[in-house]
Amino acid sequence: MTEGKYEIIENTKIAADVFKMHLSGDTSALTRPGQFVNIKITGYFLRRPISVCDYDGTGMTLIYKTVGGGTEKLSEMPAGHTLDLLVGLGNGYDTSRSSSAPLLIGGGVGVPPLYGLAKLLLSEGKKVTVLLGFNRKEEIFLDDDFRKLGAEVHITTADGSVGTKGFVTDAMNGISYTYFYTCGPMPMMRAIAKCAKTQGQYSFEERMGCGFGACMGCSCKTMFGTKKVCTDGPVFESEEIIWQT
């Protein structure tokens, strides 16, 4: 983990309530897709954890949804503004288990970390299929970016305005895959756990105090004992997850 100042290069709305922010600064603490940063927002005590969508040697892209006062304030910050970030938090996705044809399943604001993951898997020569679930057409984002990378993209919408009508689980059975990675709302991930044909990795969200393992605010029970979502996760393998009802 590192702490540092990052300059906002771009902060624009890309879908309903969804913003894309590009930050320039040190990314050396980022080692895997699926890690997150914790952002200090003036006027709010706790930092806001946001997953990293993509990064390179000079900066990173975050895609976030406005869900409350903190993220709304973040969405109003102009280019040139500087933010204080804790960077390189969490374990991130492990691509070594993906085998030849991984499926990436994203729901809503859970989609962004899968972008960096798709990029890495494709660079490793894997055949990547992406399945994205949204409620309606106006909420869809990143689909073209995945296509440009060279991934096969399937979309489901709850209202049927684009792609398959229904949820990601309604489209999963028609896709062949060797392993899967997912990030999205808990009901979606729980449904995936019931119908998945292979093992996979899930990225979880939890309210956090610190994001670096000190406060024990985000603890969860796993098959291998108590773990922290912030440092042992946010990515957990299907074999270790206990699905609470």
């Binding site: 709010y44 005590f45 706790l46 610190c210 000190a214 406060c215």
Partner: protein, 303 residues
């Protein structure tokens, strides 16, 4: 340069800065960020006889100038702390530690204190009778003078180490409880623990915290803590470790002027992992600005 050293029950600390229990784990996360030997000491995560998972999540909520937590004394239990955490910590932290213990009965407090009595690394035992997040324990003991006295008496006879009782602000008269602890042989008082509070999620229209209520900490409670330290300083003749929303070197000075001999930093560590290091670095300059040559001499100076 100002002399930052302070004395706590015969133990000399290089400076008065002590990360508060529950915000610093067992030191591991922070020792990867900076050399934690610069600290005066630190108070480790509240430890109970048995391992505890703690409360259901969500356990954390943001508040104006602060946060609410309802972790519920998650800890690996006294055996693992003594057998695994302390030996690991010994390699990175060379100073006397503050061992924070929790409990659900007078016997449990005494048991934990007795187990820690033979641990060389432990300088002070801090007894948490004020956790607002565990039903039937913790705060229960801290809300009446008689039960606070009973815990103090039991812990006092279980260990030879200095015993500090950590008090709850969620009481009618904190001075009465502090006096009861002093009368039963407490070597010092730690205050304050968190204030009971709540946030409600407007989307779900339900409390954010799974346990509904939690403990409020952070800068929002600093004036409350300062007022209570000031009052307890007048009520007892034993040292006070002051805490509650302290987030800067200036806050440390204020807390000591109110009556604290040493100062604990809590919630600030969670949002600024370098908070204690920064405060220690800033203290000499702040002391100089306010004409303080020896920081230990300002304790209670506002009275």
């Amino acid at each position: 340069m100002a002399d930052l050293s302070v004395m706590l029950s015969g133990i000399k600390l290089d400076n008065p800065i002590i990360p508060a229990s529950g915000t610093f784990g067992y030191g591991r996360e922070f020792s990867e960020l900076y050399d934690i030997n610069i600290l005066g000491s630190f108070s480790f995560k509240g430890t109970t006889k048995e391992e505890r998972f703690g409360n259901p999540t969500p356990r954390i909520a943001d508040t104006p100038s602060g946060m609410i937590n309802s972790v519920g004394l998650q800890n690996p239990g006294i055996d693992k702390v003594i057998n695994e955490e302390l030996p690991r910590l010994k390699k990175t932290f060379k100073k006397p530690l503050i061992a924070n213990i929790g409990g659900f009965s007078v016997e449990e407090y005494a048991y934990c204190a007795q187990r820690l009595n033979t641990e060389d690394q432990v300088g002070i035992i801090e007894v948490n009778i004020s956790c607002p997040n565990v039903h039937g324990g913790g705060m229960g003991f801290g809300t009446s003078a008689s039960s606070a006295a009973a815990v103090t008496k039991a812990v006092r006879s279980a260990t030879k180490k200095p015993v500090y009782i950590k008090l709850s602000p969620n009481v009618t008269d904190i001075c009465e409880i502090a006096k009861a602890c002093e009368a039963e042989g407490a070597d010092g008082i730690s205050l304050i623990n968190t204030l009971l509070g709540m946030r409600i999620d407007l989307r779900t229209k339900k409390p954010v915290i799974a346990n509904k209520l939690g403990g409020l900490s952070g800068p929002a409670i600093f004036p409350v803590a300062l007022g209570m330290v000031y009052r307890v300083y007048d009520a007892v003749n034993i040292p006070i470790m002051g805490m509650g929303g302290v987030s800067s070197a200036k806050d440390v000075i204020e807390m000591m002027l109110a009556g604290a001999s040493a100062v604990q930093i809590g919630a600030e560590n969670l949002v600024n992992p370098y908070a204690c290091r920064n405060i220690i670095n800033e203290l000499p300059e702040v002391c100089e600005r306010y004409g303080i040559k020896k920081i230990s001499e300002i304790t209670g100076g506002a009275h």
